[in-house]
Structures are given as C-alpha cells and as structure tokens.
Symmetry: C2
Subunit: 244 residues, 2 copies
C-alpha cells in the first residue's frame, strides 16, 4: 500500500466525526449509557422515547442515551446524555446492569449500561418538549417497536422498578412534593399492574413511617378533601449517589 493512501486511511480512521465513525474506528467495544425515564401522566406510567433521525433504526423509537465521555463517571454520563437529549435534569437515577450481546448494534460492538430514572410530572419543564419534535412519552403498556435491544432494557427497568418499590421509598419520585394517599396508591398500582385494597395499602404505608402529614388538604371536585402528605426522610429525597 502506498504511504500516501495509507496515511490518508489512517488519518480518516483517527478522526471521529460521529457515532458511526467512532464505531468503525476501533477494534474494541464501545460503551454507551441508555436511560429509561419513567413518569406518571394522566394516571398512566410512561416512558420517554426519542425518534431516531439516522440509521440504523431510522425513525424507530429509542431510549435517550449516548456515548460515555472519557472523564465521566457512569451516572454522570447517564445524567448528561439525558439532559442533552431531553433537557430533563434532576432525576432519580439507578443503574440496571450492562447489556452486551455482541450483535445488539448492527454498526459494531457496543455495550450499553442501562439506567432507570424517575421524574414527577410537575418537575418536567414543558420546554423540554417544545424544541424536540421527535421526543414523546409512551405508555408502558402500549410501546412501539424499539430500536436495538431497547425493549429488553425497558422490560428490565420495569421489573427492577417493581422490585425496588417494595424495598425502597422511591414512589415519591414520581409524585409532587405533597400528595394524597390515593395518588400514592395509584403509583403503586401502575407499577405493580394490579389493584390494591385501600385499607390495607394505607395500613402498610402508615406503618412504614415513610410519610409525614403536612396538615394541608387538597380539594378536587365536589367531595371530601384529602390530606396531603410528604415523605418523612428528607435525606432520602436528595438524589441517590450510588457508587459506580
């Protein structure tokens, strides 16, 4: 091979233009993060999806995410890619696991670290949607076909979320700061996908000591107003800094 064309080829390879060139350049697996962001809207559990603008899977829906930069901790990478792609910040983030089937990305070898995130509808800035035509919330029960193995990641997130619900006070991450017991029960019912008994639910929640009565009430419609509660442990409210 002539030195000139060889240099050219090498120089070409050395330059990263976009995701695809990064993928073909190296002989090592690349690493991305993908975030399954949940919220509750209109009494439905929803996931934020982005419609892809490029191949592969052009026009398909996919999870927000992207490549990890060289100096970023994993959680930071997840936060940053989510913020860049969706303008959503200050979410509760938890790692699921790594997803690394050798053929999960047709462009090359890409391992992704999946996260789930929770955000309450009230914390969502409407601007996040304004500039992003190809970004939308989808009910977890009516998901479109997803790009890559993102369906597996979403399903893993749903299972993990349900398991965490029983062991960790995370449901409030999907609610406003002050909420009624009925609203809290709705969140549990949506995640567990089954109806719960009102008396048993309240008995259990109140016994757990998670909640603090704010003394305020909430009127909505022509009926008895409901007590408003907040989560008792303010320590738990700060974003969970997990070791990664």
């Amino acid at each position: 091979m002539a030195p000139d064309s060889f240099i050219e080829e090498i120089q070409q390879k050395q330059k990263i233009h976009d995701e695809t060139s990064a993928l073909t350049r190296y002989e090592v697996p690349l690493v991305t993060v993908d975030v399954v962001l949940f919220t509750v809207q209109d009494s439905r559990l929803k996931v934020l999806l982005i419609q892809r603008k490029s191949d592969p899977f052009i026009h398909s829906w996919a999870l927000p995410g992207g490549f990890i930069h060289i100096g970023e901790h994993l959680v930071e990478a997840a936060k940053n890619r989510l913020a860049e792609e969706t303008s959503v910040t200050d979410v509760y983030l938890q790692q699921l696991r790594a997803f690394g089937k050798a053929n999960r990305d047709p462009r090359g070898r890409v391992i992704t670290v999946g996260f789930y995130a929770l955000v309450s509808a009230e914390r969502l800035r409407p601007e996040a949607h304004a500039n992003a035509e190809h970004l939308d919330w989808h009910c977890v029960t009516e998901l479109p076909e997803l790009a890559f193995d993102h369906r597996l990641i979403v399903d893993t997130a749903l299972d993990t979320l349900e398991a965490h619900l029983e062991t960790t006070p995370i449901a409030y991450q999907l609610l406003p700061k002050k909420f009624t017991l009925t609203e809290l029960q709705r969140v549990y019912e949506l995640i567990k996908e089954k109806q719960l008994d009102k008396r048993n639910f309240r008995k259990k929640i109140m016994a757990s000591g998670m909640l603090k009565d704010t003394g305020e009430t909430k009127m909505e419609g022509y009926h008895r107003p409901a007590q408003l509660y907040s989560f008792a442990d303010t320590e738990l409210k700060v974003m969970h800094a997990q070791p990664v």
Copy 2:
C-alpha cells in the same frame, strides 16, 4: 512530521501489545469483565483471587478478569477470562452491574462489568491450582487489600448473592450433586452470616419443593447417617443463560 515517522507512530499505535498499550491508545473508555468466584471449602465461604504480576497494584490481590474481545457476548467474556486465568470452567455466572468510576483504574478509563460465579468444591480440578502459583482462595471474612475497586465489587457480589439466595435456588451450585440438609444449611448460614434453626430451615426448604430425596444416605463419623438430596428441577441445573 515526516511521513515515515508518522507511519511508524501510527503503526505503533495500531498494535496492541498488552493491556497497558490498549489503555493508552484509545480516547474511549475500555471495557473489562471481573468475576467474583465463590466456593465453599472447609466450611468457609471463599473467593478466588489472583496476585498481580505487573503494575499498577503489582503483588496486590485482584479478581480474575480481563478485556472483552470484540465478538464476545458479555457472559462469554466473563467465562473466557475466568477460564484463561484460572482454568475454572462450567460455573454458574450472574451479572452484578457495571462499575465505572472515572478514576477506578490509574492507567486510564476502564469500565468493568462485574459478575459473581458459583462453583462447588468438587467441581474444582486440583490442576487449576498446580500451574498457578499466584492464585488462591481467600475467606470472605479475611480478605487482603484488593487492587482497583475490587473490594467494592466483592462486597456487591456478597450482597447480591445473599439477596438471590432468598429468591432463587442457587445454593446447590456450591454443593456436590447429592448433599445432606445439614450441608445445605451450612451454605445458607455462611452466606447470610448467621446461624439458622435446624427445624425451621428444614421446614422451609422442604415446603419449597426444591429438593428431591435420592433415597441414599451418607455416613460420616460414628453417628446416624444423613439422607442425601438433590435439586428437583433439573432445568435449573443447566447453566443459566441470561440475556445480555
């Protein structure tokens, strides 16, 4: 820069000699797998560690593991690196999660996917130790200082193992095919780090339907022989192929 030296430099960069050159070559995070291999020996829960022969952390103890090859699924990579470094094969493998603090490897940006593995002492070939002077089992209660963030990975593995013990029949992975109820109870006690009541333990285990009475007995010492059991679900005995 003269073309010749440029080509030379590029060619140099293109060649991966060892882990360190791979680490300095790329501007992207690299990915490894690390395996926390547990076994029960002499009534102790032990972890397999390797003494490092090179910097960083030279002479420190570390988990078996290594770089993921371009075509390997994650689990395959874990199996292969474990086999290469320790000659141990046919283990039960389960992913923990990705560990990716930006500074966890002083050589550069390395993200590792942690696994835990279970192997029964009887399945361990003695040869695995013969050729490997720098490879040894360590009691989980008396671990030396570990390289990198491997202590965090081991602690995560212990927590995960304990959690899985309650939800999945995995304890038999640490036992011979046929075992006594007392032996099974020892495994539970070692992992949970507390003593269990013999009657309550047997009641629960037998109620779960996990076990099958082999009809055989085991004599050991001058006392009543114990019944030998095996795990009932042969499906569960095959190595668990998880989606990655």
